[in-house]
Symmetry: C2
Subunit: 374 residues, 2 copies
């Protein structure tokens, strides 16, 4: 295997104090003041209860940001994959929820190794998976906390109702090495509903399935310690529901253009992609060095932070901008910033954040969970 053999030229790193002109592009910029403000704002919201904040790290994948969230009062961190959890644990995060199913012998072995060094919770929705988790935990003497996932209308993973939730919760409870910790939910189908009042109404309606499942499990004689769920688009409702105990929203910390567009999440866009104009083929056209490998397209076009410039088209390595008014003065070599429409997948393209304060580089933070989809 030759994978470790290559000498690797290190990417250019700007000196501390650098402004955008001295930062190579495309680069991920993170406005430190806005980040801190976003984290504080959500912490203040969550302090009103009843749900405690357990922010999802799938957006930022960054240990430093997770630590700031914990410092601001979060009770733990959420992530999507075992690989992301490993990256968080490597950074000293002590209480991690993997809000998805952990399936198969390789993944379960890694989960067991993780559970030896931090508190770890996983979602389950399948009896066979529960048996495998239990066998591995019991064999190695570790304890895995499990949330039974309940589908609240997203129609993705999860058991369909309270009866099925009780059945699986009992199974977890009866299996050695496992602890039934509560319920996992995610109203992902509602995060982008507009207008806001409809989103609020639908969230109240659909999250009632979480309450019903909680009541069914409790009626069956099992305590439901936690009911976990929520996202940035629905936090204002889900975080106030009396039966919810954990709020998993994640995008709020860095934000993106999508959550700004649908409204209801009063947070600042702390995350931008810095790009360079590399061609001015026509007076009304600029081409920048950020394409599909620098900013993701699935939710729509990025917002161009330059008066008179708007996004026209993605190529793999190029972004094309339409120019009018003052933007017509843009020249080859000029730098501009974009707000990604979807922060989570855009961050996943980069190895590091350039942390900016008053327009100057104050730190670099690793996107430690980048590419850790396994």
């Amino acid at each position: 295997m030759t994978i470790d053999a290559a000498t690797k030229t290190m990417p250019y790193r700007a000196p501390l104090g650098a402004g955008p002109a001295e930062i190579d592009t495309p680069a991920l910029l993170l406005d430190h003041a806005k980040l801190i403000r976003n984290i504080a704002r959500m912490a203040t919201f969550a302090a009103g209860g009843p749900a405690h904040l357990r922010p999802h790290s799938k957006t930022h994948k960054c240990v430093e940001i997770a630590r700031l969230q914990l410092d601001a009062g979060a009770v733990g961190i959420t992530c999507a994959k075992v690989g992301e959890a490993e990256a968080l644990a490597d950074g000293g995060i002590a209480d991690i929820l993997i809000a998805n199913q952990v399936v198969g012998p390789i993944k379960i072995a890694r989960l067991i190794a993780l559970a030896r060094r931090c508190a770890v919770t996983v979602a389950v929705d399948d009896a066979g998976n529960v048996a495998q988790l239990s066998a591995a935990a019991a064999r190695t003497g570790v304890t895995i906390r499990c949330y039974v996932e309940v589908d609240v209308g997203m129609a993705r993973c999860g058991v369909p109702d309270g009866t099925a939730a009780l059945r699986l919760a009992r199974l977890v409870h009866d299996h050695p090495g496992l602890v039934f910790g509560g319920l996992q939910t995610y109203e992902g189908h509602l995060q982008n509903v507009v207008p806001l009042d409809e989103r609020i109404a639908l969230t109240k309606r659909d999250m009632a399935a979480a309450r019903a499942a909680k009541e069914a499990v409790e009626a069956g004689g099992l305590a439901v310690d936690q009911v976990s769920g929520g996202g940035t688009g629905t936090h204002m409702v889900t975080g106030r529901l009396p039966y919810m105990s954990e709020l998993q929203c994640g995008s709020y910390a860095t934000m993106d253009a999508q959550y700004r567009a649908v409204g209801g999440a009063d947070f600042d866009n702390a995350l931008t992609v810095l790009a360079t104009v590399i061609s001015r083929p026509r007076p009304d056209r600029a081409v920048i060095d950020a394409g599909l490998k620098a900013v993701t397209p699935e939710f729509g076009d990025p917002t161009v932070l330059c008066d008179g410039a708007s996004w026209l088209d993605f190529s793999e390595e190029h972004g094309e901008l339409s120019l009018s008014g003052a933007a017509g003065e843009l020249r080859v070599g000029d730098k501009i910033e974009l707000v990604p429409r979807h922060g989570c997948t855009t961050v996943n393209l980069y190895d590091r954040f350039h942390v900016m304060r008053d327009g100057r580089l104050i730190d670099e933070w690793a996107v430690a969970g980048r590419g850790r989809s396994q």
Copy 2:
């Protein structure tokens, strides 16, 4: 800066000889036999001339594949970014075309460093950029070969016509430290035209702009050593045009579902994403552990290599499949393979290829240019 401080848990690595069941997911698989066959097939085509093959590495970003292409007769390698060129040079590739503009003092300084250790060519379409490249090259005593980019109808980068091409070619020729090497073209707007006969006709029509530019520059008294261009979708035309000397197609080596769908490129899908079924919420539905961070969506849905299973929806970390017939037997923990619709951006999500021969792991190759968009 804390970026280097973290202890990093190494991703799980399957042993040599492993089959898909022993490979953690999501994972990028590369069928070695199909790869070799694709490389040989394009090499055979290019041997018929007149254009020599200079394959684009933006799809695979892999030194081992670039070496196989050179061994099969390619005259050099193409890439999109300075960062990718650095990764290729680190792996010993000696002749690299960066088929885009290299703009700004940081990028140009890195280009100069690169030119000290390999032959490097860049595209230019701007007089100011030419002056900056020249100043840096002359100051450091290195030589940068430049292709003047000519727009052949894609309406992205490039000068518009032969007159402008001659003007810029003269500028390159007259500037110390630079060598005018020829013309860069790319008929990117035609790669996906269907039906094939229309794509062929349009390619012949539009690439005439390359011929016209070549003739204009030659009429101005400058030799045009190379005319470079082409993609996997148009190689069968562009590679046979008498005025073309270099063919830059790249996707053919690994292929993807998009180039299969539009036809005309007779290569095998060597690239797949291996995924695991993590939930079976309904008889007709399976959820796998490969979503937007494991296979990219911009060209459309991946092809599911499982009879009766078809792609239904992307989530960030999940793929949802619709099941019928035999696929209804899929169980939690089963593994399936997907052919990505767009290989270039999908490969860019991974750190390594699992190289498979007869269904067994024979090697791991680094995606050395992964994330090297700078």
